[in-house]
Symmetry: C2
Subunit: 382 residues, 2 copies
Amino acid sequence: MTKVGILGGGQLGRMLLQAATKFKVETHILENQENCPARTLCNHFTLGDINDFDTVYRFGKNLDCITIEIEQVCVEALEKLEEEGIAVIPKPAVLKMIKNKITQKEFYKEHTIPSPIFHVTDSKEELTKYIDFLPAVHKVGVGGYDGKGVELLYNKEDLSKGFDRPAVLEKMTPIKQEIAIQVAVDQTNNIVVFPPVEMVFDPTLNLLDFQICPARISPALQKEANQIATNLVRSFQSPGLFAVELFIDKSDKVWVNETAPRVHNSGHHSIEALATSQFEMLWQILLNEKLGPTDVQQPSIMVNIIGAPGYTGVAKLEGTDSITTKETFIHWYGKEITKPGRKMGHITCLGIIPEKAMETAHYLKNTIRCISEAKENTPKIV
Amino acid sequence: MTKVGILGGGQLGRMLLQAATKFKVETHILENQENCPARTLCNHFTLGDINDFDTVYRFGKNLDCITIEIEQVCVEALEKLEEEGIAVIPKPAVLKMIKNKITQKEFYKEHTIPSPIFHVTDSKEELTKYIDFLPAVHKVGVGGYDGKGVELLYNKEDLSKGFDRPAVLEKMTPIKQEIAIQVAVDQTNNIVVFPPVEMVFDPTLNLLDFQICPARISPALQKEANQIATNLVRSFQSPGLFAVELFIDKSDKVWVNETAPRVHNSGHHSIEALATSQFEMLWQILLNEKLGPTDVQQPSIMVNIIGAPGYTGVAKLEGTDSITTKETFIHWYGKEITKPGRKMGHITCLGIIPEKAMETAHYLKNTIRCISEAKENTPKIV
């Protein structure tokens, strides 16, 4: 049986393992949190730090294949494993380039991938050189995650919010729509593209954000976005599953924002809504099987279940009883403790009417909440 | 985390474990075949005989809940576990009654469930008393499985094929159609009924047999069959998932053939074709969760992949490349060795046109075959 290791045991690892039950594979997880979401679903669990060279090397050296569910891992250990003949997917060289937003942006420039112009900054002080370049987005090179490590700098006064370490200062683009396209590349370079997903953000409705698939864009824009995502992923010259985040500006030009070399939040709907889920697709890549079709079976929206503000403690899901439709799927990641902003699960709703997507998402977001038993007593600042 | 044990680790156990990944549960399997289909997907595997009292008792005594994937288990150990407070689902008393076809038939009679009239026989010799009762079906009381332990007795000459041990001699009914209805009962007696499945057998097409859902029967017959299945299952007074096999005779009367108190071959299509699969449903029962809906999402057919005649050895699946439609799902049970007649997997095909079901099933049956590397040299009898 093929032995496959995954670095990281969070919800992405968990959903990979749920999909693994359909394949002939022995699964191994490396993760330093004992009670992580992937803990109970893997064949073998190793407690350890995915950023430690020796730990990752020892974990990987008896495997046939190794992949990641998060970029922040020890790439050097993966390079050594690759040298020794272990199939590392994606290739460590690509992971290394993507992991650092500076080298990722430089790669786009070098390969003439349309992406906002940028400067590299090493310190907060250096930002003063770029006042005329504002408004811009400041992103730390390494370590940003889920919105952390990103600051919007509109004017001179904002410069103090910038990062005092290597970062990218990217020209702010007037965004009309944000989309994501996943691209799968197998070990013999066959490519399969997923339908575009639209990431919707509506600040007027309780900071509502959700995803809708297929994205509400014209066939011409879809074609262009597909082409850009496919060209980019081809240029990586690596097998793997890649999520390319793009945006469409107010003059309908398509830009690459960034890429994740792994299964991704923007592909959760694929479990129920597409012919092959992103998780099954990655197993097909890892196990050298034929890549499945990605047809949209049903239009869908996906809403993350985020730890509600003001609640920290043993997690409790509220409001699920009110969901009576058979086409709403609640995924719970099995995290014991909720805290404000933590991703605790997600909901996919099938068969939606695109024009009513906003309403459906709003209803779900306001109906299903992750809280804890007792509301924490946040001391007031007086 | 709730600890649930399953007696048996065959394909039904495997599919239960595949569904378990969506639930908060610690899974335990007891099975005496080390390389059984369920082996790699459970949290804890115990090698042992499900028919041995001590083995079953020791396996069960630290669990919260225990269920079965096959009837042939040590019921006495389950009775002791139930006495000691373990939730045994289905109840051992019902399992004991169903496990023996004699007591099962007597139960039907006692509860005025429409089922063919019968005599109990203890020996082959005793059959001679019932020559005027022929044609009849002779079924062994305990131990029959997948067509074994059943003989059709048309006339006096056939009596020699009868069983020389306790058995049921059942009046043969002129069958028009065979159907199966699964009924779920939760721990507080809520009942959910699955749509009827038709079991089709066509001896003219290479002994083709397959299942089609929903069954091609009139609404009136469906209502009657549902009522009979529901009444029967209510009379068991036990939580569990029950598969009631029924037949419709040439005058459109509905009869109960037999019942299985577990997940069943007739419910495989539910994984892709229904809103809740039979496997998810059993977990909802075991874990005291709300029972899901059973709406037909898509009409389907299901064909078993049976070890091809003449091949014994390391199994190999042939013909899968020719399946290009995205709505055909191949389930492989992970059994290493194939032998003629062994259930090796199944195929579910969605979105079928009921009028073309026979053609589709025939195509699948003739396209996908389970063989072994080298055809065995069966010595010819000369």
